[in-house]
């Protein structure tokens, strides 16, 4: 009798840990949620829900490789859990594994064919894989399902612009003028990502005329000035962005880069370390710290920082190259060779992806 009661109490406690984990996750207490889900998992090692939630926690921490591992275990436990396919796709997208992300989104859409966001993401994934025709079809469907969603509208506009249908792209962008500042900000970001920096700069300046405290526009302008080597102006803008939002990791990081290259190395390193503290799993400052250390022939620090950066962003050729050089300097030739081979593979993949995109574009033409 006592034994049965004890078991019942224990079961309740375990069940409670699942519920409490959900509550902690909703409240944003990731550490507590993780602890509770792990506790539940110790008793229920095949719990798809616990595994899925642990994946979600990793994703929120931007630990996407770890998130994918949890999601894989969750799907092994219950392959029919459609939302896990969606979350898996998001994590894979962050890791730039767009082919696999598209597969999971298609699986998800079999259960939820009217989920506009999933169709949008599938469209974006297909764009990244060079399937412009497929991307346009999915984005059009997504737009039909939710024509008021700004991000869907912009994605569709961008895809039409890529396909050479500038009229359709412009028509879509015109529909979005409900919030001029936000519209111009997104237009600016699109131009920035296309490498049309002058146009992007004009748009960000217009955003600031409408809203002088728009941090994303200040940060983006600062980044443009940084790229343009107008370092003094870049520093001014990024310092302003940090005044408005002291926890802005990106501005902190960019200021670190600027300080270092403007003869303020100690302040630069300090800002880079602060950026790491502000955002978990932020590879860029680790890379910069590694590069700085490599230049100073502080190989031990370089190795630690660059290996950390590689763990977070394994497909970034600059990181792999710097790490290869560090291994080379340390006489660790086999590891250096492996890094350089990876750089070569990544570079070739970029060239091939560009080519496939152009060929995909051409196939669209009558």
């Amino acid at each position: 009798m006592l034994g049965e009661l004890l078991v019942a109490v224990m079961l309740a406690a375990v069940q409670n840990s699942l519920d409490s984990g959900r509550q902690a996750l909703q409240a944003g207490d990731l550490s507590r949620a993780e602890q509770l889900f792990r506790q539940y998992l110790s008793e229920n090692p095949n719990s798809a829900e616990a595994l899925s939630n642990l994946g979600a926690i990793c994703a929120r921490r931007e630990q996407f490789s770890e998130a994918v591992a949890f999601y894989e275990r969750a799907l092994k436990a219950d392959p029919k859990l459609a939302p896990v396919h969606f979350n898996m796709a998001i994590a894979l997208g962050q890791l730039k594994a767009y082919d696999k992300a598209a597969e999971h989104l298609r699986t998800f859409l079999q259960s939820y064919p009217k989920e506009a966001r999933a169709r949008q993401l599938l469209g974006l994934a297909l764009m990244e894989t060079g399937d412009l025709r497929g991307a346009l079809a999915e984005l059009e469907k997504s737009y039909q399902l939710n024509p008021k969603d700004g991000s869907i509208l912009y994605a569709l506009a961008q895809a039409n612009a890529r396909a050479g249908d500038a009229d359709r792209a412009a028509e879509l962008l015109r529909q979005s003028q409900t919030n001029p500042a936000q519209g111009k900000l997104i237009e600016g970001l699109i131009e920035y990502r296309r490498g049309r920096f002058a146009e992007a700069k004009t748009l960000f300046q217009e955003v600031l005329r409408l809203n002088p405290d728009a941090v994303p526009a200040i940060t983006a302008l600062g980044r443009l000035e940084l790229l343009d080597h107008n370092d003094a102006e870049a520093i001014r803008l990024l310092q302003r962005a940090l005044q408005l939002n002291p926890s802005d990791a990106e501005s902190t990081y960019q200021l670190g880069v600027l300080y270092d290259r403007n003869g303020r190395p100690a302040e630069g390193v300090k800002m880079l370390r602060r950026a790491i503290g502000l955002r978990a799993n932020y590879p860029d400052p680790h890379y910069q710290l590694g590069r700085i250390a490599l230049d100073r022939e502080d190989l031990r620090t370089a190795l630690a920082e660059l290996e950390e950066a590689r763990r977070m962003l394994p497909n970034q050729e600059a990181i792999r190259l710097a790490l290869g050089r560090t291994y080379q300097a340390l006489g660790r030739d086999a590891e250096a060779k492996a890094e350089f081979a990876e750089v070569r593979r990544l570079k070739a993949a970029v060239t091939e992806r560009d080519r496939q995109r152009v060929e995909s574009d051409l196939l669209m033409k009558p």
Binding site: I90, L121, I152, A155, Q158, R162, A318
Partner: protein, 578 residues
């Protein structure tokens, strides 16, 4: 879900499209105070008075639709008739809307009086097509210099018949791929190289892209067809990189395609331009370096067994320090710091620094362009390049030509004009350079859309002159008028065990406690060929010693009987003969 998805949507829409050419947005570094040292060399364009008046036709003069109309530039300085005076070969082009009569390659014979005569037709070299680059060598070891000319289309091997004429023997020599490639191949760089040390010149041929107009979008069609927001011809990003070729010389006038078994064909992801062959790691075997546009530069290391390993990344040559590919155009090989180790200079697109790769030994390199003071100029698109010692002070200077790819973008982008000036950097010694402009002569102030440049002593007066390929203009002939008491030495090499033109030989001259190494190159600059004679400035030194490393790997010392003269070095003779 919504917030996360929105973030992701933004992340995924961050297209990785690049601009047509790799460009880093680098502004010029601050200029140091000028040294104030007098500069004794004056460069003057004497093309018109020398008779070089024919326009080099290449693509449309405006409204260019395709990249193929913009990138050519082969020019060679070589002595085709063996009279001891440099002649000029210029690669020509055509136009999509019909070639004008002047569209052809050209051969100008040196009249030995400062003028030239167009002997194109007499020599049998008239050909209208999308010519690209040129390599010089003596592939059949008959003592007469032959030409290999690349095309978007079938390449030409012009055998020198020894009577002032040439015959295209590419097909019978086995240099036209069979079966024909699926898409027309845009060949670019090429270099003769004796990679197996058998005394016969083999041939490396680079490809820029498999280029089919039916599969090439029009200007502005996608982000690869824009430059700074202005529609431009598409590419190279988004185009299909071609394969590289290596042909083994059988010694009977024919070649075998060994691209696959040598490992050369394995590197398929770069857009090749200028090819240079030299023994970069000083192991006695010829390696091949290929400047590549917007993709990693390729370095093919000779494995001594007929195969190559591509290891440009390992050697610090493929990418910049940030891991970014650059728009590699031209290559110069020299020894800027006088340490007896080969250094490399590579030209790039606008908004980027040029690359000065200091040889560290054993084929390892480090880009020191910034430290050397060469990053003070990033406005221009740089092409043909050399390290000529223009003032004969014993320190190789740097000269490169520039020009915009796109004739029409200057309307929207006035900071990037179509015609641009050449750049000259004087070597100050101690690894430092300073830019010179008008003080080095009126030619430095002229603007053209130039591509290739070839270096050599055209008037045999003991200093280096140049000929420049200008798009849709006549070429420039830059005469160097040097007023200096500095001494010099030129050496002409003849192989006996090695290939007869001695292509690939490295000559180290030691003088006044210093040394300098140069290589006999079949191609360099931008898909061009400079004089096979090597020119050394000696400063105030009146004596010197020469060491030749022949392409067979053997080293040979030569005593120098005197300076300010051309010396003939025959392999195995041990004696330098005026």
């Amino acid at each position: 879900m919504t917030a996360r998805s929105l973030v992701l949507a933004a992340a995924w829409s961050a297209a990785v499209y690049g601009q047509g050419m790799a460009s880093r947005g680098v502004k010029p570094a601050a200029r140091q105070k000028a040294s104030g040292k007098p500069w004794p060399s004056q460069l003057t364009n004497i093309a018109k008075q020398a008779g070089l008046t024919e326009t080099i036709v290449y693509g449309a003069e405006s409204h260019v639709q395709y990249l193929a109309e913009t990138s050519s530039g082969g020019v060679a300085l070589f002595d085709y008739d063996g009279d001891g005076w440099l002649d000029i070969f210029i690669v020509g082009g055509t136009r999509f809307d019909g070639a004008p009569p002047e569209a052809t390659n050209r051969l100008y014979r040196n009249n030995r009086d400062g003028t030239f005569t167009d002997v194109t037709d007499k020599a049998g070299l008239r050909r209208t097509g999308w010519g690209q680059g040129v390599a010089v060598g003596d592939y059949n070891n008959d003592g007469r210099l032959d030409l290999f000319v690349t095309y978007w289309g079938d390449n030409a091997l012009y055998r020198n018949n020894g009577d002032g004429t040439f015959t295209d023997v590419a097909a019978q020599a086995g240099l036209i791929p069979k079966p024909a490639p699926e898409y027309p191949t845009w060949y670019s760089g090429a270099t003769f190289v004796d990679y197996d040390r058998d005394g016969h010149l083999d041939l490396f041929v680079a490809t820029y892209t498999d280029y089919d107009l039916r599969r090439t979008p029009k200007p502005g069609a996608n982000p690869n067809c824009n430059w700074k927001g202005v529609p431009t011809p598409c590419g190279p990003r988004g185009l299909r990189p071609g394969r590289q070729y290596l042909y083994h010389n059988r010694g009977d006038g024919t070649f075998e395609d060994v691209s696959e078994k040598s490992g050369i064909a394995g590197a398929r992801s770069s857009f090749g331009f200028t090819a240079v062959a030299a023994d970069f790691d000083d192991d006695g075997w010829q390696d091949i370096l290929l400047a590549c546009d917007s993709t990693p530069t390729l370095f093919f290391h000779n494995n001594h067994d007929g195969t190559f390993t591509e290891d440009g990344i390992e050697r610090g040559l493929a990418l910049n320090a940030d891991g970014m590919e650059q728009a590699g155009m031209g290559l110069a090989i020299g020894d800027f710091n006088g340490d007896g180790i080969l250094d490399i200079f590579k030209t790039h697109f606008a908004d980027d620094t040029q690359g000065l790769y200091q040889g560290l030994g054993k084929g390892q390199y480090n880009d020191v362009a910034m430290k050397a003071g060469l990053a003070v100029e990033t406005r221009y698109i740089a092409w043909g390049i050399g390290m000529p010692d223009l003032d004969n002070d014993g320190w190789p200077d740097i000269f490169y030509v520039t020009g915009n790819v796109y004739p029409d973008t200057e309307r929207d982008l006035p900071a990037y004009p179509y015609r641009m000036p050449p750049m000259l950097f004087r070597n100050l010694g101690a690894g430092k350079f300073e830019p010179l402009a008008g003080e080095a002569g009126p030619a430095l102030l002229e603007r053209h859309s130039a591509r290739g440049v070839a270096f050599g002593d055209i008037d045999n007066d003991g200093d280096i002159d140049m000929v420049v390929w200008n798009r849709n203009e006549p070429p420039s002939l830059l005469r160097n008028d040097l007023k200096s008491a500095h001494h010099w030495l030129q050496v002409r090499l003849t192989g006996t065990k090695s290939n007869r033109a001695a292509i690939g030989s490295a000559v180290t001259v030691q003088f006044a406690g210093r040394k300098q190494v140069q290589v006999v190159l079949s191609q360099s600059s931008f898909t061009s060929a400079s004089d096979l004679r090597l020119h050394f400035g000696l400063g105030d030194a009146k004596s010197a010693e020469l060491v030749v490393r022949w392409p067979t790997g053997a080293r040979e010392k030569f005593a120098v009987p005197g300076v300010d003269r051309v010396l003939s070095l025959v392999e195995g003779s041990g004696t330098a003969v005026p």
